[in-house]
């Protein structure tokens, strides 16, 4: 694939705008709260779009098109089952505690509800995890741009990191959030034409259905047994593992996304952030997954010259399919110079939104939950503002380091992602019990978190899927790694839940007075009586639920 001058002009215009937005917002930053928390002043339409854009990194985009080509419409479960319900739950039930408690971060909420060690455990694992995930995403982007455009890996990694650093350093979280919205628009502008063109070429949805095996165009029909569907997952594992544990764990406790909602200008706006974000989120599969599905249909169609319209890309020198290249190779087939620039800029934008999300979450957690808690407790605010800014630079530098680690030791990164998966999987149980059961105690929560992590490691160590896991022996073999992941999450959650309950009952409860604002039943939740229905969380959540159920039925 080769780019024309106009494509570079588009790319350069985009870079100028993101840095320009950071520049215009620089004067807004005068305290550490402005820099790290946006001073809780961002309008709700902006926080809603940033909420989903921070999650829409380059890895997700590349991965969703890849999974679309590999598994078909079932991939949409990652949105309709694996995101929307959790987003609704977060807005309706959890946001009142996050926003109302005045906690500055998710780990800080744990400190207020439980104790210092729960916060420390969560803050440190989260900080390390964000650095590595932005590094991995940077590596993925650098590799892809090197493969398709033959750009230099070092230049890609360093230049994109420098731009993210420039605008987050200048305007802090506000700048990251504002840019995420622009990036979201650009992702849609860059990818929607691809979905439309690829789908039209493949003869519309009907044309795709007629060319693909039927288990790739139905999302629920073949869920009865793992052997029938391409993902190798059965109904319970999917709904409980992905739909409940993993997705609630991610959307409800991951500070990366929660931070966006907490930047909103009022409690009502904070609660509506994930609800309003859910509306575009549920339609994203049509932009990010559909091109992948259409690619498979196109690969079966023959043009007038007798050649296939499209060939699924292969790994270098092999016969193994490289699904990660589906998105970019498809662009090369459909986008002429001009639109191609928009598409690649969209990919770049998705990378930046994901990375800035990680960096801004990292600097907040590091500054408030690690530095201010353990290194220097009482300094003037200007000191923490300075630390926040320095942490931004350090965070970007560490991400670059992580990208190079990923490049040289691919297996280490796989392992790290595994380990963090183990730490994260049980988290939702801790928050669920912490927010809705006033009897749960700090020691209960901490031992629950640790047992959940142990349970996750044991499940992985005792089961095998596609040749992975089973280092302690093989008790059970899963049909796919995905099924294994879902079940690891289920076991981790259950262990954490049970141990937290048992240990809490054995330890002394905290006085109810101390839990006001932190636990359901002891907190007054305002119900926005005077507000119009679409400005109130509950009716909004009902509308979103109806829409997502309709989508599920439509593509069942």
């Amino acid at each position: 694939m080769k780019l024309a001058a106009v494509d570079y002009v588009i790319l350069a215009t985009y870079f100028a705008f993101v840095i320009g937005i950071g520049w215009m917002l620089r004067k807004k930053v005068s305290t550490s709260g402005d820099f790290l928390l946006s001073g809780r002043s961002v309008p709700v339409w902006i926080t809603s779009l940033a909420f989903i854009a921070a999650n829409l990194g380059a890895q997700e985009l590349i991965g969703m098109a890849a999974s679309g080509a590999k598994y078909g419409i079932m991939t949409a479960h990652f949105y309709w089952v694996g995101a929307i319900p959790a987003m609704l739950f977060m807005g309706i039930f959890m946001m009142p505690f996050y926003y109302g408690s005045k906690a500055r971060s998710v780990p800080e909420f744990l400190k207020m509800r439980f104790d210092e060690k729960t916060r420390g455990y969560n803050a440190i694992t989260f900080a390390v995890m964000t650095v590595f995930s932005s590094g991995i995403s940077m590596y993925a982007l650098g590799l892809l741009l090197h493969l398709v455009l033959n750009w230099d890996f070092n230049v890609c990694v360093l230049a994109s990191a420098a731009i993210v650093l420039a605008y987050t350093y200048l305007g802090g979280l506000t700048s990251a959030i504002y840019n995420e919205v622009l990036q979201f628009f650009l992702i849609v502008a860059g990818f929607a034409p691809l979905a439309i063109l690829a789908c039209a070429k493949a003869g519309g949805w009907q044309g795709i259905v007629s060319r693909l095996p039927s288990n790739m165009t139905h999302s629920w029909h073949y869920m009865g047994s793992a052997s029938q569907n391409p993902m190798g997952v059965e109904l319970f594992g999917m709904v409980a593992g992905l739909g409940f544990v993993l997705s609630f764990g991610y959307w409800c406790t991951n500070f990366l996304v929660v931070q966006r909602a907490m930047a909103a200008d009022s409690m009502s706006a904070a609660r509506r952030t994930p609800l309003l974000g859910a509306i575009p989120k549920m339609f994203l599969p049509f932009i990010v997954i559909l091109p992948g599905i259409a690619a498979v249909a196109l690969a079966k169609m023959v043009g007038p010259d007798g050649a296939h319209l499209y060939d699924l890309p292969l790994k270098a020198g092999g016969t193994v399919k490289d699904y990660d290249q589906v998105l970019t190779t498809l662009m090369a087939r459909f986008y002429p110079a001009g639109l191609l620039g928009v598409g690649l800029t969209g990919l770049m934008a998705s990378f930046m939104s994901g990375m800035a999300g990680n960096v801004t979450a990292f600097n907040t957690v590091f500054t408030y939950d690690i530095y201010q808690s353990y290194i220097r407790k009482s300094a003037p605010d200007s000191h923490y503002l300075m630390v926040g800014r320095m942490t931004t630079i350090v965070g970007v530098a560490l991400s670059i380091g992580a990208a190079y680690v990923a490049r040289s030791y691919n297996n280490i990164m796989d392992l790290l992602q595994f380990v963090f998966g183990f730490v994260n999987a049980p988290l939702f149980a801790t928050f669920l019990l912490g927010m809705f059961w006033k009897r749960s105690t700090a020691n209960g929560a901490f031992s629950g978190m640790v047992s959940g992590t142990v349970a996750a490691s044991l499940t992985w160590g005792l089961t095998v899927a596609e040749g992975k896991g089973g280092i302690f022996g093989t008790v059970y073999t899963f049909p796919s790694v995905m099924a294994q992941n879902f079940w690891i999450a289920i076991f981790a959650f259950s262990a954490c839940f049970l141990v937290t309950v048992v240990v809490s009952l054995m330890t002394a409860p905290r006085p109810e007075k101390e839990l006001e604002g932190l636990v359901y039943g002891l907190t007054k939740i305002r119900h926005d009586e005077g507000a119009k229905w679409w400005q109130r969380p509950a009716p909004l959540a009902i509308c979103v639920s109806v829409l997502v159920i309709l989508l599920n039925i439509w593509f069942a």
Partner: protein, 63 residues
């Protein structure tokens, strides 16, 4: 506080103008699998979206 609709609006107006310009001055530009003037047809909605954001921002200032 910066109204995000202003920079986003300008960005899409410029992007749309570039694509529409390409569509008008190089109407025969095609990718291997496209048969229509894709730049023109995708540039027009971008131009309209950018214009919409700018009008919304302008109305907010006038109020």
């Amino acid at each position: 506080m910066l109204d995000l609709r202003v920079p986003s609006g300008w960005f899409f107006v410029i992007l749309g103008a570039i694509l529409v310009g390409m569509g008008l001055f190089a109407p025969d530009l095609r990718a291997p699998l496209t048969e229509t003037n894709v730049n023109l047809y995708s540039g027009l909605p971008m131009l309209a979206f950018g214009g919409f954001l700018l009008i919304m921002a302008w109305r907010a200032v006038r109020k």
